[in-house]
Symmetry: none
Subunit: 270 residues, 2 copies
């Protein structure tokens, strides 16, 4: 266990009273999670700033535990089934998300629309529940899908109701991508100011909507379930084909808003 060089610098990511090798291992795991896709050993090792041989040993243990798996063909490493189990266990302990998920069928019954529940993850808002109504149309959107921030109703709720620090990196990334593709957002200027006024507008309305921008022919409205700080713990979205639902006073918007208000922690009055 040589701590060969620069031991002072490593103090940063060294947990007081912890296990150094575990710190290194978790750094590796986080790099893999953040990357959003399967990685080769060398890529991973470079990302975590450690020699490949060291990374390989850690990965062997992760693979044995099922937290990471190695794709047969490519030899690349990716998150494994146990990582999912772990995350779902964590999710199951978040009370407000649980309550919302349990109540979701009621909302679907009331509105007759397909509802989805998303929470914030490294890759953006991630769909964790998917309650389908009679009219099925989208099958490309599955559990675990990550939605765009600027381009989806769900994402816009995140922009408006999460700390800027959380969303900033991803907003930046999407703005650059949109600029280079010359995408036209009819209702959005691609500047930090434009984003801020979008967020203000969403907060003023209490919900966000898109109509055929993310998926042509599809309309969606979304609203947040808030914690006591006023931040979104999860986002509820209703999807349909009729753009009429996006009207501020539509029955669907009312139902959604009431639903989310009922599940949010009471906000301290002004």
């Amino acid at each position: 266990m040589k701590n060969s060089s620069a031991s002072e610098f490593e103090a940063t990511d060294r947990a007081a009273g912890g296990i150094q090798s575990l710190d290194a291992a978790l750094k590796l795991l986080k790099c893999l999670a953040k990357s959003g896709q399967a990685m080769t050993l060398t890529e991973l090792a470079r990302a975590a700033a450690m020699p490949p041989t060291k990374a390989h040993r850690y990965l062997s243990s992760f693979v044995a535990a099922g937290l990471v798996e190695q794709r047969e063909r490519s030899g690349r490493y990716d998150l494994g089934p146990e990582a999912l189990t772990l995350g779902l266990s964590a999710l199951a302990r978040t009370d407000s998300v649980n309550r919302t998920a349990d109540a979701l069928p009621g909302l679907v019954g009331e509105t007759g629309m397909t509802a989805l529940l998303s929470v914030w993850g490294d890759q953006g808002p991630t769909v964790v529940r998917w309650e389908r109504a009679a009219s099925v149309f989208v099958t490309s959107l599955g559990l675990g899908t990550t939605l765009p921030l600027l381009n989806s109703a769900t994402g816009r709720i995140c922009v408006a109701y999460l700390p800027e620090a959380v969303t900033a990196a991803r907003i930046d990334q999407e703005m650059r991508a949109a600029r280079s593709r010359r995408d036209a957002f009819c209702d959005l200027t691609l500047t930090s100011g434009g984003i801020r006024s979008l967020a203000d507008a969403v907060r003023a309305a209490g919900f966000a909507s898109v109509d055929g921008r993310f998926i042509p022919g599809l309309a969606a409205i979304a609203a947040p379930v808030l914690d006591w700080q006023g931040y979104a713990v999860c986002v509820v979205t209703l999807i349909g084909t009729d753009a009429a639902i996006t009207a501020p006073e539509s029955a669907e918007v009312r139902a959604l808003a009431a639903f989310c208000r009922g599940l949010s922690t009471e906000q301290p009055g002004p």
Copy 2:
């Protein structure tokens, strides 16, 4: 790093070429995830069969990484926000359909039967993959074929493992058609109650089968790959000429059930 006692027994959970301390750490993490609630240090240490002092050091590192958090008041340990993030990253990459498709040749090799993979589409269960065994005979079913809901093993899995709202319209349509044609289903009464008891029976058995009803002379068994909500992501079907495979304890049924269980997302237990 004493491996003080009983080194023979530890060989079981020791990853070849891996890091021993990481193995122990992950065992700890799994115990915490399995418990489903916050635990005290000693509880956790006992569950993972290690001295509390060792567990504490590991937990310090986990806490520093955000994978575990310690409740201020009680001092108990629970899964932290990073565990959720990790799981969401894993969820985003879990493409059960693709994984199943990749594994299909293995099932075919094991059972020697032709397998097909279907997903739910607008028109009902749709065949998306064919994996032919040595003895090829069926050619009437092509890629993209949609199967009947009531009359095929594949369809019956959809009835049992998809939300009623999704299948209702098509079930209705098939029932009407069957009634007007005066089709006889030996094992099914064409009422909503009859459908429900069919679904219950399929769920209880874990698989569905038909023998010569859909295509005379052909027997099939089918089982679902489930997401963590318990809904079917896709359906795997084995086809053969021998009706013996439809017996609940046949080798084929066992292989199919094990196959699908392995690909389904673990349901988070209590």
